[in-house]
Amino acid sequence: MIRQRNAQRCRVWLAAFTLFSAAVSAAPVTAPTGATFALKIPDLPVYDQHGRQLNFYSDLVKGKTVVIDFIFTTCTTICPQLTMAMRRIQQQLGDRIGRDVWLVSVSVDPTTDVPERLQSFAAKFDVGPAWTFVTGRKPDIDRLLTALGSARGGSDHATTILIGNDRLGCWKRSSGFAPIATNLKLILDQAGPSACAP
């Protein structure tokens, strides 16, 4: 009871503080570049979190608008948070997920991240539909990461997310930790008809 009351109090203060802390300097997260670019994505064999074999380009990217992030399941620091950010994107896009936008998380540690491991990682975050976690043979994933511009594997992987409209052939980069509204706008722009407008 006491704990509940305290929690409630903390919530009120929290709300109040959010109001004025918004005025304080913004956190230094990498801003989205906004520049669009083309990506040649190889159609490599990969496995999803259910152990199904897929071809990365033709099954996950072709003709779609996709958001791609890079994770590994033994990472306890930023990967859970990136995944939470992706989950937020998924929730905010509602029924547009799986219709207009698809999500893909690529493991940068395919040797460790077998499908079962990806599945249990995904389950922790209650990931919804149209979100594929990807692993595969190390040489294939290495090639894929190089093609996606995220070649540095292991714990030094970037917090970058890629947002691409394959139908129109253009991609943008952002930070997974950028304000959610910024990333949502980028994603919706990319999913729209003027995705590749300068």
Binding site: N6, W13, A16, A27, F125, H157
Partner: protein, 530 residues
């Protein structure tokens, strides 16, 4: 609410929490007070849901599962921060937080030293002492004043806090002995080998000047899961073992491994047929393969020998032996290895004779992976013989026991068995060491498999403790074990682990039952299934 009113309200909270936290700082010594232990649990993310701790994270902060955002995840066991992907979590050891001249971070952010009140503000509201917003990856926590006070109390102790069961002079190691039932004899024998090994090790000076102490839990493994967990938890909180080793936990794998995981206790070499039951474990290190890995080794071996490009195999199982999920995983593994038409027959549902008739009509099925033991397996073998059908039977050794020779008498089929170790794994030095131990400590001549497995567990744990060095902690032990490669116990295949490898020798040898000699004949080298 105006900004002034908000500050005042928060000020009252901070004052209250500050007083609470200050009350804790008088404690000293190796053990933590009740409140500091509570703070440590908050830090490690233990019991977060029960405490009602909530978190908001991201930009702008939004509700997120606090259980996935424990302090330790980013700041590390030592509080110094684990940089990753260009995010550098702050050093939150008390000395670093309260440096009198403040802190300038690599990002250029600078602020005066923290006080307890300012730290509460940082934890709850994400502001540093200068009022700068903390990075969006630092969660904003919502927790009771008792919890935040306890957490701050613990942060003051972080640098000097040793893991439970660890002192300058001793390392306490826990074992489990089953209270009764079939595993009790194996469990007692395993435990006596470990006692002997530990005593011998202590006589040689222990590990870096620390003696090993044994703490024994007697648990009824056939009790309901909740009781096993409660009893194990009580053992952990009363005896405070630093790590667990080599215990027979058959039948209670899920409960015990889950409890060890939850309590962050390294567990080396639990003796179980189901190491896969805890595939995502971080704390638990199994030595040998279990049913699933042995099934895969059989499929791998047989596929390589098969002239067909997509040979067929029938999975014949009993759900009393194999959990449903495990059957699905074996089936998936078979498909990935290139097996086709993987028929699955449930012996609990289908009468053996009907199953055999059904399989016999499939012309391509000449191999059966038998995932059942005891009577179910025997009846199936008899039904094969009666139907004059002689498929090749593939049997994981973990399910074989003595039934296998009986099966052989009931069926003219050839039988291949996957075993995790063969006598030739034993080196002269390894055998001599065991014999010396057995002579000195009058070890019984029964339950040899359990004895060897328990001894190897103790040797692997000892090697991990040595590699972790004098500055031992549970996390350095886990790191050391993950770095273990090709470790030769002298009694089983070489053991190695890795970040995603929790089975020391993931594979098996294939042996065939030799009906003439009534013994096993080795027909393969080591089949690695990684």
């Amino acid at each position: 609410m105006t900004r002034g009113a908000a500050s005042l309200a928060c000020g009252l909270l901070l004052a209250a929490v500050g007083a609470h936290a200050a009350g804790l700082s008088g404690h000293s010594g190796d053990t933590l007070s009740g409140s500091e232990q509570r703070g440590k649990n908050v830090y490690l993310g233990i019991g977060v849901a029960e405490s009602g701790i909530k978190a908001r994270v991201g930009s702008p902060p939004a509700a997120a599962p606090a259980v996935l955002l424990a302090c330790v995840n980013c700041h590390g066991r030592d509080g110094k921060g684990k940089p990753e992907g260009r995010i550098v979590p702050s050093d939150i050891t008390w000395d670093a937080l309260t440096k009198p001249y403040g802190v300038t971070h690599p990002s250029g952010r600078t602020h005066p030293p923290y006080t307890e009140r300012l730290l509460v503000r940082a934890i709850c509201m994400g502001l540093d002492p200068a009022g700068n917003e903390l990075h969006p990856t630092m969660p904003r926590f919502q927790m009771s004043r008792e919890d935040v006070g306890a957490l701050i109390g613990y942060l003051k102790k972080l640098t000097s806090d040793a893991d439970p069961g660890l002192s300058e002079s001793a390392i306490r190691i826990g074992t489990i002995v089953p209270a009764g039932g079939a595993p009790a004899a194996a469990g007692r024998t395993a435990s006596s080998v470990i006692s002997a090994y530990v005593d011998a090790l202590n006589r040689q000076g222990g590990i870096y000047g620390r003696r090993l102490e044994l703490a024994q839990a007697t648990l009824a493994l056939d009790a309901p899961d909740a009781d096993i967990q409660a009893n194990f938890d009580r053992f952990i909180s009363e005896r405070r073992p630093f790590a667990m080793v080599g215990s027979v936990i058959t039948g209670a794998e899920q409960s015990i491994v889950a409890a060890a995981e939850r309590q962050h206790i390294p567990f080396v070499g639990p003796l179980t047929l189901w190491p896969e039951a805890a595939a995502a474990s971080t704390q638990t290190f199994y030595l040998l393969s279990g049913v699933q890995q042995q099934a895969r080794a059989l499929l791998d071996f047989e596929k390589r020998r098969s002239p067909e490009s997509t040979p067929a195999v029938a999975l014949v199982y009993s759900q009393r032996t194999m959990p449903a999920a495990a059957i699905g995983q074996v089936q998936d593994a078979a498909r990935r290895l290139g097996w086709n038409a993987v028929h699955a027959i449930d012996l609990d549902r289908d009468a053996p004779r009907m199953s055999v008739e059904r399989l016999k009509t499939e012309p391509a099925t000449t191999r059966v992976l038998l995932l059942a033991d005891g009577r179910a397996a025997l009846e199936f073998a008899r039904a094969c013989a009666e139907a004059d059908w002689t498929p090749l039977l593939l049997v994981p050794g973990a399910l074989a026991s003595n039934d296998i020779l009986a099966i052989h008498r009931s069926s003219p089929s050839r039988i291949l068995i996957a075993v995790p170790s063969v006598p030739s794994d034993q080196t002269n030095a390894g055998s001599a060491e065991y014999r010396a131990l057995a002579d000195t400590y009058r070890l019984p001549a029964e339950e040899m498999a359990s004895q060897i497995a328990a001894l190897c567990s103790a040797k692997v744990l000892t090697q991990g403790l040595k590699l972790a060095g004098k500055a031992l902690s549970r996390s350095t032990l886990i790191e050391a074990l993950e770095g273990l490669a090709d470790f030769d116990t002298g009694l089983m295949p070489r053991i190695g682990f890795g970040p995603n490898r929790r089975i020391g020798a993931p594979g098996a040898y294939i042996v065939e039952v030799d009906p003439a000699a009534q013994r096993f004949k080795q027909v393969s080298q080591w089949v690695d299934i990684e």
